[in-house]
């Protein structure tokens, strides 16, 4: 227990008020909330951009002749960029940022465990992604024509992955080492738990990706023999963009739902261990992806082949689906105990989780060999469901924690409206691609396919869905901006929540907790305000 109230670094750099000083403050800050907000802000920008690109791709796929807006090179780069930005511009940084911002507060730490590493993580990711962007613009993505820029793409990708890895390491370490006194690992709040799972999985899988990138770079630059030229980069690197690797991060989306649901229902989370197990299940199964073992259900061959194929299929695709279902189900179980009620953050989280379920289920179906969906735009639909579902869930989380991060409570009604609109957008952006997948529309292709007939319609719908999403994100960011500018002071605990972060002022001070309380249960705040608890 301490009463030290000065922190050298904090006190010295909060005085400046000019623009330069404030930029300097953001650039040099090792405050996890600032780092997290940088991650969130930038990835929301990417979200808008990626949705616009998605819309363009959708509209591009109308003409039976192919080329609508772009020539073949540009179209190829555009699809590659779209895919890259969805995963590493949007999904991964958004959740790692959210985790960096929220997790230390949730577990009762005064700072993130490795603040400067997290800081390095952000800048590494941001600059790496910039390099990737540059390479795409200069025709250097996978399959691109400029050899130097392909190098740059690989190097930039490596840097951005390393940045994300650094963020993930910080998050995982925080949960493992910096918990408040008395908080056992099973007492960790659901979101922090999912963050732990997600970041540990990232820590285990991202190095593999980085290694692959390094191999590819060396090979591409110096020999071009081991892996082939840039046309086959996707063969080696495609898995990092694909399911189930992307599930590594959506556990945090489900974690958001699991965090918000009991608060909204004003009850303790029932079957909490099952919930945590469900979350863990997804990542455990997902991790197998890094082995690149074929996990398509293939029912040809001998009985033994069938058996092993089935087991692998069920393990890699079935278990994530099972875990996701369990997680959503147990989270919703709190409504059975508590009182029903809906607010914007819950709506976002729930809708996002549903989208994710659709995506995970889609992934399950996709990997049934007989369905012949591998290599079709069905996969794009899965990715869209997963990424955009994650986006919705993340927006729910941002809405939920906005008081702590920005000191504002967003207008519930407006956000609720956006949630609805977002839901429509995601469904529009994803479902038609499922359909198109059944119609054998090839993945990633843009121009060299006959999109005549109903296919054109599906693609237009998907494009429109992306556009809607872009608008939703834009509107959400606008709302957030307006609220922050207005500076409506949020109360310390607007949601009447359960976890430690709500015991401190809004917005949270730089060092989070003046005093560290010893906790004795999973819902420490409920322990100190028993009167508000709804009787079971």
């Amino acid at each position: 227990m301490t009463t030290i109230d000065t922190h050298v670094g904090v006190s010295t750099h909060t005085t400046g008020s000019s623009f330069v000083a404030s930029v300097g403050q953001w650039v040099t800050s090792s405050d996890h909330k600032k780092i997290g907000r940088l991650f969130i802000g930038l990835s929301l920008l990417y979200a808008i951009a990626v949705a616009v690109i998605g819309a363009l791709i959708g509209f591009e796929r109308i003409n039976p002749d192919g080329a609508q807006f772009f020539d073949a090179d540009a179209a190829l780069q555009l699809t590659q960029l779209h895919r890259h930005a969805l995963v590493f511009g949007l999904l991964a940084p958004l959740f790692i940022g959210l985790a960096i911002a929220v997790v230390p507060m949730q577990v009762g730490a005064r700072a993130i465990a490795l603040p400067r590493l997290a800081q390095l993580g952000f800048w590494g990711w941001a600059l790496g992604t910039d390099l990737v962007l540059i390479s795409f613009i200069a025709n250097g993505g996978p399959g691109g024509g400029s050899s130097d820029m392909v190098d740059l793409y690989l190097l930039g990708l490596g840097l951005s992955l390393a940045g994300l890895l650094a963020g993930a390491v910080s998050v995982a370490t925080t949960v493992l080492t910096s918990r408040a006194p008395g908080m056992g690992l099973m007492d960790v709040p659901a979101f922090s738990w999912s963050a732990l799972m997600g970041s540990v999985a990232s820590v285990l899988s991202l190095p593999v990706a980085i290694g692959t990138v390094a191999y590819l770079y060396v090979d591409h630059t110096y020999s071009q023999t081991a892996f082939g030229d840039n046309k086959v980069i996707n063969t080696w690197l495609g898995w990092v963009y694909a399911q189930p690797q992307t599930f590594v991060l959506i556990v945090m989306a489900l974690g958001v739902l699991a965090e918000i649901a009991p608060v909204t229902a004003r009850t303790r989370q029932p079957l909490r261990p099952v919930l945590l197990a469900g979350i863990a299940l997804i990542t455990t199964a997902t991790l197998g992806a890094v082995t690149q073992t074929a996990h398509v259900l293939d029912l040809s061959g001998t009985t033994g082949d069938k058996l092993s194929s089935t087991i692998l299929f069920l393990f890699f695709n079935g278990l994530p689906l099972l875990g996701a279902l369990v997680t959503v189900a147990v989270a919703m179980l709190s409504f059975k105990e508590g009182r029903p009620g809906v607010n914007a953050s819950f709506a976002f989280a729930l809708l996002g989780a549903l989208m994710l379920l659709a995506g995970v289920a889609g992934s399950f179906v996709q990997h049934i060999g007989d369905a012949a969906l591998v290599g079709t735009s069905f996969g794009e639909g899965v990715t869209a469901y997963v990424v955009y579902g994650g986006l919705l869930a993340a927006l729910g989380g941002i809405t939920y924690w906005a008081p702590k991060l920005w000191g504002v409570v967003l207008d519930d009604k407006k956000v609720l409206g956006l949630a609805g609109l977002g839901f429509i957008g995601v469904v529009l952006a994803s479902l038609p691609l499922y359909v198109a997948g059944f119609a054998d529309q090839p993945v990633d292709a843009v121009n060299d396919f006959d999109y005549s007939g109903p296919l054109g319609l599906w693609n237009v719908l998907a494009g429109a869905g992306s556009a809607v999403i872009a608008l939703v994100v834009l509107a959400y960011v606008g709302l957030l901006f307006a609220a922050v500018r207005k500076g409506a002071g949020a109360s310390d605990d607007p949601w009447d929540a359960h976890t430690l972060e709500w015991s401190i002022p809004s917005p949270a001070p730089a060092d989070n907790f003046a005093a560290l309380a010893t906790v004795s249960s999973s819902e420490p705040l409920l322990d100190v305000k028993p009167s508000q608890e709804v009787p079971a």
Partner: protein, 374 residues
């Protein structure tokens, strides 16, 4: 002295050494596995070093009151610098080597700063003392390093501006700049009360101005004469004309040697349209000059006439490379005005022959001085 973490890594190092030795003896000395184990040794040893250096989790030296991991770390500039350095390295790898080298420098510099800051942050509980420790260790490098970098940047920018503007403009402009700097310096020296505030305005503004001017100049390219001059070395030999009129080659190339008068073996004078020569040590005119073979020798040319003249030395002819083309050999001074002098430095490896005598002439003037190389 050894922290818990470092003990672990030291142990790991030792274990991996043992494992490697056993592996090498018992399993297969040339196997890749040995490589992996050596890698393990290296990384474990590095990590032990790092953890000893950073006093990882060494709570003994830190006052109990503050748990280093509990509070937020101080603001730090270095992570972004390191990230920037890494990005530059990678960008440089793919594009320009110079970016790569700069990136390495930034990376190393940022890394060192980061390490030292991390190390000093744990030196004691007293932040002021810690920053003093940091300053003591790094101050000796930072200030000279930074000022060197600044100096290089300023010098580089200035040079771009110099190269872009014309000679006269450059002279005047920088005389003005120098005057302004001098005046400002004087004011700052005199008005101690103003200094800090004013400096904080004047310095950034002037540096920004300089940067803009430098970048603009660099983009606009070097002034025409310089570009021409750079190209002139590529002048074909037939353009090297030593006539009465101005030569594009010789009259732009000032004689780049400034030999001492001691080394002048002969003086060739043109007066009243007549060429005459005197050799050092002889107090009379000569019509033959003898120059030792294969020895750099200097001849002084003095023009006493009104018109501009140049001294030409004819050194026979030679074949061009392996071809059969024969071209005259020789060189000349720049056009020289009345009463002015120029020198011509010659190193002649081959003697003159009867068929091809060497000589000094002055185009437009009468007379010829024979040049003898024995």
């Amino acid at each position: 002295m050894f922290t818990t973490g470092s003990k672990y890594f030291i142990g790991l190092t030792a274990l991996s050494v043992v494992a490697t030795v056993l592996y090498l003896f018992l399993v297969n000395p040339s196997d890749l596995g040995a490589l992996a184990l050596v890698g393990l040794i290296t990384s474990a040893a590095t990590l032990s070093g790092v953890s000893i250096f950073t006093r990882d989790s060494d709570t003994e030296t830190v006052e109990q009151a503050v748990d280093a991991s509990a509070g937020p770390a101080s603001a730090s500039f270095w992570p972004i610098v390191v990230a920037l350095g890494a990005a530059m390295v990678l960008l440089g790898l793919a594009t320009e080597p110079v970016v790569f080298v700069l990136g390495i420098a930034v990376l190393v510099g940022g890394g060192v700063e980061w390490m030292v800051q991390g190390w000093s942050d744990r030196a004691s509980a007293n932040a002021a003392y810690n920053s003093e420790v940091r300053a003591k260790v790094l101050g000796g490098i930072e200030y000279p390093g930074l000022s060197a970098v600044l100096t290089i940047i300023v010098a580089f920018l200035f040079s771009r501006i110099f190269l872009a503007v014309s000679k006269d403009a450059a002279t005047i402009f920088f005389m003005l700049v120098a005057a302004v700097i001098f005046a400002l310096g004087f004011v700052f020296a005199a008005r101690t009360d103003l200094r800090k505030k004013a400096l904080s305005v004047v310095l950034p503004v002037s540096i920004a101005l300089l940067a803009i001017a430098g970048v603009v100049s660099a983009l606009s390219g070097e002034r025409k004469q310089l570009v021409d001059a750079a190209r002139e070395d590529h002048f074909a030999i037939e353009h090297r004309e030593c006539g009465e009129e101005a030569s594009k080659y010789y009259d732009k190339h000032a004689n780049n040697r400034v030999p001492l008068r001691k080394a002048v073996i002969a003086t060739i004078t043109v007066e009243n349209n007549e060429v005459s020569a005197k050799m050092i040590g002889l107090d009379r005119k000569v019509d033959t000059i003898t120059i030792p073979r294969m020895n750099s020798t200097t001849v002084l040319f003095r023009n006493l006439d009104d018109s501009e003249r140049r001294l030409v030395v004819n050194l026979g002819s030679a074949k061009v490379g392996d071809t059969d083309v024969v071209e005259p050999l020789g060189t000349c001074t720049q056009l020289t005005g009345k009463g002015q002098e120029q020198v011509l430095t010659l190193t002649i490896p081959k003697p003159a022959t009867a068929e091809e005598p060497f000589s000094f002439t002055v185009p437009g003037a009468n007379g010829e001085i024979k040049l003898v190389v024995p």
